[in-house]
């Protein structure tokens, strides 16, 4: 049974339903209890809008025009949102039982840490004694007892984040929505939050939707990831699967750490890629390329799958223009016909800048190079 199910969600900038006006289209996904679900994409792509839809701040488009909407909200959504199989698209935010951590946290500056954390309990008609009891328990869990009476301006960024998360989970919500919780935070704090939330989700049998633009963070902790770009879902899968088999060039670049993309036409008879910029590339591995009906393809190659060799007429050659080192590997940027190609080599082999070299594709393993059809179809399957 899915805890949260979103079906064909579309968000528009206003109540005019045109293609230019849409922010995201055809968003469909489901989250099971205990799952940490990540929504990834570049900045300003509509990730926060999806979070706002789940929380209920973006009203659904109605047949009668609703002029008077709270929150200066002009955006409208269509589609269905189900929680435990019940449609909640039209219900009020307060009836959805969602814990929400907005971007930049927004703690109440006039309340102490304790008042901030216990604030959601006031909506539940509890007695002050019970509120104190639950509040103390959460404070101990988050290790915040020392700053119980401090104001938000007096505490550090990491503590602020803890307070905001504690405030979101104190009422045991079924769904937790975290909008870039790790933004503006030192890397040293970043590693603490998501493991903690994962533990909490397992114990409560609830789910969390985390919005982030950090692929590294996502690949470490998330159970499932949805990558969005250009209004649509590019890929929805587990981090490992997305890393190994990206479905679009964007995902390959954004998540799978593939630097080199070569555009060309594929000749199925001789198993060659004819590229304008790089010449002929021989495909040694025959997997899955024939499934693309179009002859125009983009070939993505990991920098580790390329090898620098001495100048050789039979291979494509170019000039080294840049180099840098990272964790035991030398990276070289090589210019071939005004196109930059990134190559990784082991540290013991060094080349000079401005040296003319040739390149060889060594990868015949799986997941070394990838083929994408040149034109991304507008509808991407799950």
């Amino acid at each position: 049974m899915n805890l949260l199910e979103i079906n064909n969600l579309k968000i528009f900038r206003s109540d005019i339903l045109t293609e230019q006006n849409s922010i995201v289209e055809n968003i469909t996904f489901s989250v099971r209890p205990g799952e940490l679900f990540g929504i990834l994409g570049p900045n300003g792509i509509g990730k926060s809008s999806i979070a706002n839809c789940i929380c209920g701040f973006i009203p659904p488009l109605r047949s009668s025009k609703n002029y008077f909407t709270w929150g200066n909200e002009q955006r409208r959504m269509t589609g269905e949102i189900f929680k435990n199989g019940v449609e909640i698209s039209n219900s009020e935010p307060s009836n959805r039982n969602i814990g929400y951590v907005p971007q930049n946290l927004f703690l109440y500056p006039h309340m102490t840490v304790f008042e901030n954390i216990t604030f959601p309990l006031y909506g539940k008609n509890l007695k002050q004694v019970e509120i104190n009891k639950i509040g103390e328990k959460i404070l101990r869990e988050f290790d915040l007892s020392e700053i119980k009476f401090a104001y938000p301006r007096q505490i550090s960024g990491g503590q602020k984040q803890k307070v905001a998360v504690a405030r979101a989970i104190i009422k045991d919500p079924e769904i937790l929505v975290l909008d870039e919780p790790n933004a503006n935070l030192d890397p040293i704090y970043k590693s603490e939050l998501l493991p903690f939330i994962k533990k909490f989700l397992r114990s409560q049998n609830s789910c969390a939707i985390v919005i982030t633009h950090d692929p590294l963070e996502a690949s470490k902790y998330f159970d499932k990831i949805m990558i969005i770009n250009d209004k649509i879902i590019h890929q929805l899968d587990s981090p490992n699967n997305i890393y190994n088999t990206p479905k679009t060039p964007f995902v390959a670049k954004f998540f799978s750490n593939i630097e080199n993309f070569i555009e060309g036409t594929y000749n199925s008879d001789s198993n060659l890629i004819q590229s304008d910029s790089l010449g002929t590339i021989i495909i040694e591995d025959e997997t899955n390329i024939s499934t693309y009906s179009r002859p125009d393809i983009i070939c993505g190659i990991r920098s580790e799958s390329l090898k620098i060799i001495d100048l050789n007429k039979n291979f494509i050659s170019g000039k080294i223009i840049d180099e840098f080192q990272l964790s035991g590997t030398n990276f070289y940027r090589i210019q071939i016909n005004k196109k930059n190609i990134m190559v990784a080599t082991s540290r013991n082999k060094r080349y000079k800048i401005n040296q003319d070299v040739s390149l060889k594709i060594t990868g015949i393993r799986d997941h070394d190079y990838y083929f994408f059809s040149n034109k991304i179809t507008h509808k991407v399957s799950k």
Partner: protein, 272 residues
């Protein structure tokens, strides 16, 4: 700019502001003949004779009470009125919102007071509240409302909407709870600033009060001061003493407001 240049500029600016105030207060305490002979000399005896004359004027006490009542009442009423209106303007979307704000601002401040006073006078006289403090109060409220409304919208814009979203999602969604628990504690200082502004506008307002109060009993301090100019001979000592009495509350509010961090006043932190 170097620090000493800035210091000199600040001090000279302060002198330019403060000197006339000190001059008014000192001249109000001086004998009228020495004041007229040499307005800027400092070597004359100071006495409270002029102040006594002002305070013993038959209408002074009632006009003072009128002024204080008007300033406080109009500030409070305007603030109560703008609270729901400016919240609506800040948080809700409705058709022609932009034009309504602009029209309400320009309809009051683009037209000169003599143009507006005719309809005001006609309406107030039909209700029979000419020559009463209530009539002046209504004009003062009407005068400062659009201005306060636009300031009020800025004040509410400075409260991030996410704060309210968190409250709403946690079931704290009655207007009373939302306003007094979340919004008001964050805009207290801005409201004090707004109160001082409207108080100052109403305290020094002369034209409407002068036209509407035909009887000296219903006038305000600026009206009293204005009537002192009538005739060939002006008693400058008394006029200046009365002026310095009028400056005192304004000065007090100025000192009070300097303790408020006014950077909050026009700041906006919301992400749009």
């Amino acid at each position: 700019m170097k620090l000493w240049v800035r210091k000199i500029l600040a001090i000279s600016f302060a002198i330019i502001i403060i000197t006339p105030l000190i001059w008014v207060v000192i001249s109000g305490l001086r004998d009228v003949s020495s004041l007229l002979n040499n307005p800027f000399s400092l070597d004359s005896d100071l006495s409270f004779e002029n102040l006594k004359v002002v305070i013993n004027l038959p209408d002074f006490s009632i006009n003072l009470i009128n002024s204080i009542l008007l300033a406080i009442l109009s500030s409070i009423i305007v603030i109560i009125l703008i609270t729901p209106i400016s919240y609506t303007f800040s948080r809700y979307n409705f058709p022609y919102k932009k034009y309504i704000t602009t029209i309400s601002l320009f309809s009051t401040y683009l037209l000169a007071p003599p143009v507006l006073i005719f309809p005001y006078f006609k309406i107030l006289s039909q209700f029979g509240i000419i020559n009463s403090i209530l009539g002046i109060l209504i004009t003062h409220i009407a005068f400062s409302l659009p201005f306060a409304l636009s300031i009020g919208k800025i004040i509410y814009d400075s409260v991030p909407i996410e704060m309210e979203k968190i409250a709403i999602i946690n079931n704290v969604n009655t207007a009373r709870h939302l306003f007094f628990k979340i919004i008001f504690p964050n805009i207290k200082l801005q409201y004090i600033g707004l109160f001082i502004l409207i108080f100052a506008i109403s305290w020094k307002e002369f034209f409407y009060a002068f036209i509407i109060s035909t009887d000296s009993k219903s006038g305000t301090l600026p009206v009293l001061l204005g009537t002192m100019y009538s005739g060939e001979y002006n008693h400058w000592g008394v006029i200046l003493a009365c002026s310095s009495l009028m400056i005192l509350p304004a000065l007090f509010l100025l000192i009070l407001s300097s303790r408020i961090k006014f950077q909050y006043f026009l700041s906006s932190t919301s992400k749009e």
